[in-house]
Assembly symmetry: C2
Homo-oligomer: 263 residues x 2
Amino acid sequence: MGVTHSDGTVGKALALLDTVAGFGRPVRFAEVQEVSDLPKATLYRLLQTLTSQRMLSYDPDRGTYQPGLRLVQLAHSAWRQTTLAPVARPHLDALSAKLGETVHLAQLDGGQVLYVDKRNARRPIPMFSDAGKIGPGYCTGVGKAMLAFLPEAERARALAQQSYFRHTEHTHRDAHSLEAELVEIRSSGISFDREEHEPTIICVAVPILDERQRPIGAMSVTSSTLRHSLDDLARLAPDLKTTAEAIAREAAGLSLPSASDIA
Amino acid sequence: MGVTHSDGTVGKALALLDTVAGFGRPVRFAEVQEVSDLPKATLYRLLQTLTSQRMLSYDPDRGTYQPGLRLVQLAHSAWRQTTLAPVARPHLDALSAKLGETVHLAQLDGGQVLYVDKRNARRPIPMFSDAGKIGPGYCTGVGKAMLAFLPEAERARALAQQSYFRHTEHTHRDAHSLEAELVEIRSSGISFDREEHEPTIICVAVPILDERQRPIGAMSVTSSTLRHSLDDLARLAPDLKTTAEAIAREAAGLSLPSASDIA
DNA sequence: GACCGCAGTTCCACATATTGAAACTTTGTT
DNA sequence: AACAAAGTTTCAATATGTGGAACTGCGGTC
């Protein structure tokens, strides 16, 4: 049996949700079946179950499935409770206003970076729109900032989980070179993305640490080599740090996940 | 109310997710058990499964569960694909700028109203990113606007599902009086909330209809009796309608769920 | 410091839900 | 009309989930 689906039926159902959501567009039964290793009948029943639970939405006219609205509803609670976003909002607003640059707020989730809020240089965006996006941990400013401050054991697990796909020529290619940089980040408290994820895209990031110095999130200011140098960004670090500390102080006692489980 | 203990293990797991999310704060095992009718061992195993799937997050220090970050990630797809929000955003911005009042965008989900985007009034009434919040269908402006244009059969089902809890003295108390108002709404294309949900809160709403005149969403302008009369709001209806039509035009062919399934 | 009680965890015989091959139905195509 | 492809249903075998009960460990109490 597939080792991929560990947690019984529920695990399979959730994996299926990921699959459908991953398409990014309405999908037919056959398309899902092609990608999934579940037998036809099982897949069929699961899709029905998820649809009847409104985790998926089915368009009878086109015979397609897509993510359901119940997810939005559920995410609302997650957003409010287990995300730094509500607490961080005013701080992000202030920082973004002061710097006039794109600001990201992220948390670690299963070794990956989950963006939970964002401010663009221009328009203020309040919601999920960009929140909920995921990114790699090993080649983003926020990712490295959080990984660096993870306790030994968890960091090891997280590093082992990374794909080390070579997005650009600056991307870390293995846990070793990454770990070396993390040591530096740990001592400086600042991390950079040196075009490691996308060409010309650079950023400074700082971790948001709880009382025990464990990372509960990270913030970054992003720009491009066309507009700024790394040194330019480095000069913004103090502002970032101040904001991160303010958020950390306010988040104290909120019981936010620092980083944890893997199946 | 436990409508949902039908779809096998997956149904139970999702109901449990709702339960945990519903608390709105981190909860202990015992608290969950008190509310849930699942036997201890089953509950325990389910919580573990959901945690290992990152649908829940567990704080080992406090022994509490709360909604997991994977939900935020999943909701991102739902938000982008099956929500009017991305398409409606610029229109909402424009409308909100023009009217300077609180604007809501909502969709119907299982007989309930799901708010998917929002613009606050100029006078900043402190509120959260309320996307993902749910509300009753039978006593909100947007709810009634959508219910009114639902095809016969679906409307009947949806009306039967409402709780008819008497939030205020103006709240509809049964399907009959509601259906009567829906007839009116159908002919005028405009619905009002006359302090039916909360005292002093009033609103005008219009449905967003697809080519076949089925509701794919609704928009409203909300205010309070302290600042506006219903007549004031009624004067905003043309602007609302224009915007709704613009959104509908742009959403054509997007395969959005109009309103459907109940378990 | 022994005792109690409760929250949380594990166990295991039993019941049920899930499986998946295959047959069937519907929909769309030539 | 004939065919193919997609989607739906069936059913016996069996893997999975169930839940009563017994266990563990911890914090409080006398």
